[in-house]
């Protein structure tokens, strides 16, 4: 059974690993392949700071909140393991800042030590009158994606550097199931008007004295359009740009200025930080994640596609929950193909 994962960002690679871990012993003929035209460090995931944090509100989408929780718990379990450093995984505490009181987020009991900010803490952030403190995780994709790649390579998964032009192209080659993890460019394989880019730009700086993340929120500007500062293991990521509908992957001098000025206002000590480089990427935004099966006609046969794209600015945050959900969909495909013998996937 040939399974092709299209896309090698955090979603593609983690979905591939999840499926292989659960099914390779149950399906001896399982042949997993990854196809992508961009690999780490050139994927959208590579530019993300990698902070685990969903949006402040889930707008009632409990499914996504559950996937976020599954991801957090999965990563938390790996914290104490020797692999954590190689994965680019570590704990970090920090601040979410608001100009007015807001309801607690749906993830308040998922993260560690969630609480409101004290008046003295708010003195650190003039202009903000309300906020949260909590401890969460960072998963740096420039380490995580190579780690996933190594695990997959050890398992015999093959990688192909190739731009796939259509699902049919895969089926014509003999692929039985396609896992569509193509992120912002999923529309090129199958039109999806609900999928839009939300362009982001960040400045990577050297500011190793910063140990906390600081995320500001401005109801009017919208999510990610307000300054944020996220210290990584090597660089600090400064951001605050989210341009819906903008496909431009190049860096903008105006956006650089916006980020720099607003972050220095937030953290005056940043004025002394050394700027390393700018980076831009396109968040694959959608009203909700597309995670579903689709049966596609291929000549006289039926072939299966599992879609797993549209994770917006929270791909790292939600990735493992989605990978497991995609693996369950794969399990249901297997069950339908062989009704006589019922494989019992490990859940």
């Amino acid at each position: 059974m040939r399974v092709a994962v299209i896309g090698a960002g955090v979603i593609g690679l983690s979905t591939a690993l999840c499926i292989h871990e659960q099914y390779h012993s149950l399906v001896p003929s399982l042949q997993l392949e990854v196809y992508a035209d961009r690999y780490t460090p050139h994927t959208t995931s590579d530019g993300a700071a990698g902070l685990w944090q969903p949006y402040p509100s889930d707008h009632g989408n409990l499914q996504e909140t559950l996937w976020n929780k599954e991801t957090f718990d999965y990563l938390l379990r790996h914290l104490g393991s020797p692999a954590a450093k190689e994965m680019g995984l570590f704990l970090i505490s920090g601040y979410n800042l608001f100009t007015q009181p807001v309801p607690d987020p749906p993830w308040k009991n998922i993260v560690l030590g969630f609480r409101n900010l004290t008046p003295k803490e708010l003195e650190l952030f003039p202009g903000y009158s309300y906020g949260w403190f909590n401890t969460a995780l960072i998963l740096e994709c420039r380490s995580y994606l190579p780690w996933l790649t190594n695990r997959l390579t050890q398992r015999g998964v093959k990688f192909f550097h190739k731009k796939v032009e259509s699902f049919q192209e895969m089926f014509a080659q003999g692929v039985d199931v396609v896992i569509n993890c193509t992120g912002v460019r999923a529309g090129e394989l199958q039109p999806d008007p609900e999928l839009q880019p939300s362009r982001g730009q960040v400045i990577k700086v050297l500011a190793p004295w910063l140990k906390h993340f600081i995320i500001t929120h401005d109801i009017e500007s919208g999510i990610y359009n307000s300054p944020y500062v996220i210290p990584g293991s090597e660089f600090v990521v400064l951001g605050g740009i989210c341009q819906h509908g903008n496909w431009n992957e190049g860096n903008s001098a105006q956006d650089h200025k916006t980020i720099w000025e607003s972050c220095c206002r937030l953290q005056p000590a940043l004025q002394k930080a050394k700027i390393v480089e700018d980076w831009s990427g396109l968040r694959p935004t959608r009203p909700c994640v597309r995670l579903e099966r689709e049966t596609v006609r291929h000549g006289h046969c039926q072939a299966e596609v599992i879609h797993n794209y549209g994770h917006g600015g929270f791909g790292v945050t939600i990735h493992w929950g989605c990978a497991m959900a995609a693996a369950r969909l794969f399990g249901s495909i297997l069950q339908e193909k062989k009704p006589a013998s019922r494989p019992q996937p490990r859940l």
Partner: protein, 341 residues
């Protein structure tokens, strides 16, 4: 009297911050720092510089709390300014964990640090050998940066600094009007204080930039303090040991204890070993004394014996010492004007 000449002996955190406070409160004074060691070779350079107080059994708690509050407030303002990175002052959050119930649920400093609260059960799960814990945010003073920043501020106010080993405070009587003794562990020999004793501390300074939070065992022996470029792993508390040589057995023991609190430290690189002698005493000696020989008097202000709490108390004790220097200067000016009569 023309500009009173004040000598500060010692250039660790207490000496430099005391000199700065004197220069700030007594602009007419001419202040000079004398020390046989300057950063990066002081005891302060070995310490992690965390603002987590050590309790002195011989000093009233309200006094310690005042010293700590002064220090915290002063550094908090710097950490929030454009100078933070140069001064080496930064906020850091983390956990203090206990295997057994702590003596006091709320230490005297719990309302000075930020966001002090008990750890949640989920947070304690990361520490299977510990049953209680406190979470809070405090400040860290990285050395050498903080000491170098203090030296820069001192030079800007006209304070001179000289490398000089002072063998006896009296040797300064002809050059200076007031002497301030911030010699730290050096006071044992300098003034023969038998109540001052070393508590030897060995630490490892390692490269582990993914460690963003501090972890401290409430017994004070094992701690992980992330600094700007290095993480300080500790430590030891050896009463009465004067040895400044690193002990390889202690290095391994410290590393293992810290890795059991934070397993990812196994991947730490470039381990450097340092040793410092905490200048320990039942209470900080913060008082005036007048030395006299053959009718000649030399006012002295002592400010030493901060033990494990130098960073936590430095600004508060420096201010009090500066006030005492002011009293000495006033007394000298009073007696000199009486002499003119």
């Amino acid at each position: 009297m023309a500009a009173p000449k004040v000598a500060v002996v010692g250039a660790g955190i207490v000496g430099l911050s005391t000199a700065l406070c004197i220069a700030e409160t007594c602009p007419s004074c001419s202040v000079t720092v004398l020390s046989d060691q300057f950063s990066p070779n002081t005891t302060s350079d070995v310490a992690a510089g965390m603002l987590i107080p050590h309790t002195y059994p011989g000093t009233p708690i309200h006094v310690q709390k005042q010293w700590f509050k002064e220090t915290f407030t002063y550094l908090f303002a710097i950490s929030n300014s454009a100078e933070a990175s140069e001064a080496g002052i930064h906020l850091v959050s983390g956990y203090q964990v206990f295997k057994n119930a702590p003596k006091e649920e709320l230490p005297f400093w719990s309302d000075v640090v930020l966001g002090f609260r008990p750890m949640s059960r989920a947070e304690l799960q990361k520490f299977p050998q510990h049953r209680f814990g406190q979470a809070f945010t405090t400040l860290k003073c990285d050395c050498p940066p903080y000491l170098l920043w203090l030296e820069k501020r001192l030079k800007a106010t006209g304070v001179q600094m000289y490398t000089r080993k002072v063998a006896d405070l009296w040797e300064l009587h002809s050059e200076y009007n007031v002497v301030v003794n911030c010699a730290g562990i050096g006071a044992h020999q300098l003034v023969g204080d038998e109540k001052l004793f070393p508590v030897r501390g060995q630490v490892l300074k390692v490269h582990a930039p993914w460690v963003k939070n501090f972890i401290r065992d409430g017994d004070g022996l094992t701690y992980i303090y992330p600094g700007i470029h290095r993480v300080t792993l500790g430590g030891t508390r050896e009463n009465g040991s004067w040895s400044l040589s690193p002990d390889p057995g202690a290095t391994k023991d410290i590393f293992d204890r810290c890795c059991s609190l934070e397993p990812s430290l196994r991947g730490a690189q470039d381990i450097k070993v340092k040793v410092g002698l905490r200048p320990s005493r039942q209470s900080v000696r913060l008082q005036r004394e007048v030395l006299s020989q053959a009718g000649v008097k030399l006012p002295v202000v002592h400010n030493y014996g901060h033990g494990a709490g130098g960073f936590s108390m430095h600004r508060g004790t420096a201010k009090e010492a500066a006030d005492l220097v002011g009293e000495c200067v006033a007394a000298l000016q009073g007696s000199s004007s009486r002499a003119k009569l």
